[in-house]
């Protein structure tokens, strides 16, 4: 029988008390549910972060286990922030950031605008366009290296076919002038769909009646585009820009497979530079300070991102 004493007692007592008897309180459940997540993040994100901060004030080297690290204060920070080579890595990162974002916004928005014309079969073609961004950046980067080979690569062949140049006359990955652009091209190929999807969400959030009202006011299509479409999509575009900015500031896998930072250090973005310091030269303390500098930058950008997010949410 289901009609046990406990059940009968529960039925007889008022709701609030009944819940207390039969199960845990809401407060306890809330903490039980949140605790594992917080614990995991504390163990694998926050504790390491605090450790990194501590290491960044020392001259610790992870490959020399028997030597006690020395406390050297802000020396690591001072050295990094006055190093003109690291400044050059930052500029390489800036070049990559600026052009990938500019191209992705331009192409992504145009595509979203075209897809929003709701032609037949648009969702299938959208999916096909989205495919590159779902793939593993390292494997993709490795394969683009093959496409970029001088003489035998498909990319050089196609460029040669349209420009009449000799396909072995230029090396996308080997030349100091072209290598920074070769990584921009691959990143644009891969991530334009992301900007496109966000813009599409923005375009679809514009209610029809606004256009209908503009039509009643006899505003031209061009005017509607600049006074309705652009301002309404702008918050979404800001989100996409910030998101891609943060992601590309951290860029590692795609570029390390494509160029490995070369030739020279023309495509050595900050993450690749940091990896060299930390896992090839084993200057752990120094690399920790470097990591903190990158982290604070990303955290700052993330705060702006969340602010932008709230703005979109209010709509």
């Amino acid at each position: 029988m289901t009609d046990t004493i406990a059940n009968r007692a529960a039925k007889a007592t008022p709701q609030r008390v009944a819940r207390k008897i039969k199960g845990l309180s809401d407060r306890a459940i809330a903490w039980i549910f949140v605790a594992p997540t917080i614990f995991l993040l504390l163990a694998i994100n926050i504790f390491p972060l605090i450790w990194t901060i501590q290491l960044s004030f020392t001259n610790y080297r992870a490959n020399r286990l028997n030597r006690e690290p020395e406390f050297i204060g802000l020396r690591n920070y001072e050295r990094i922030l006055t190093d003109s080579d690291i400044w050059l890595n930052m500029q390489a990162t800036a070049h990559f950031l600026f052009w990938t974002i500019a191209l992705q916004v331009l192409i992504g928005f145009t595509l979203a605008w075209l897809i929003n014309k709701k032609f037949k079969g648009n969702d299938l073609w959208t999916t096909i366009i989205v495919l590159p961004m779902m793939l593993s950046p390292a494997v993709v980067g490795n394969f683009w290296k093959f496409l970029y080979q001088p003489q035998i690569g498909l990319f050089n062949y196609i460029v040669a076919f349209f420009t009449g140049k000799d396909p072995s006359s230029f090396e996308m990955l080997g030349s100091v002038q072209l290598a920074p652009w070769s990584i921009v091209i691959v990143d644009t190929w891969m991530w334009t769909p992301f900007v496109m999807l966000i813009c599409l969400a923005g375009l679809r959030s514009i209610p029809d009646y606004i256009y209908e009202a503009a039509e009643v006011d006899r505003a031209s299509k061009l005017r509607q585009f600049f006074t309705i479409t652009i301002p309404m999509v702008l918050p979404f575009l800001m989100l996409a820009v910030l998101f891609r900015g943060i992601e590309n500031f951290k860029m590692f896998d795609l570029v390390v497979q494509l160029t490995g930072g070369g030739p020279g250090s023309t495509t050595e973005l900050t993450s690749i530079n940091l990896k060299r310091e930390a896992f090839e030269k084993w200057r752990t303390g120094y690399a920790s300070a470097y990591a903190i500098i990158l982290f604070v930058t990303v955290f700052g950008l993330a705060s702006i991102y969340v602010k932008a997010l709230n703005k979109v949410k209010e709509r």
Binding site: Y77, L81, M90
Partner: protein
């Protein structure tokens, strides 16, 4: 501009967040600009100040 300044005076969230955002953006720009080395040198402290400020001021009350 007036409301921005009074917002700052009354410790309202909106304008202070805006100010912190500008400082962070300035710091990030200084970090990656190709013009002067000293700006690169002081970029980190700028971003850090902006970020800490953002965390603090996001707990200020919303403006009316």
């Amino acid at each position: 501009m007036r409301t921005f300044l009074t917002g700052l005076m009354r410790l309202r969230r909106g304008p202070w967040e805006m100010l912190a955002t500008i400082i962070i953006a300035l710091g990030v720009f200084m970090l990656m600009q190709p013009f002067v080395l000293w700006a690169f040198t002081y970029s980190f402290i700028t971003t850090l100040v902006g970020t800490v400020m953002f965390i603090v001021v996001s707990h200020f009350p919303e403006g009316e």
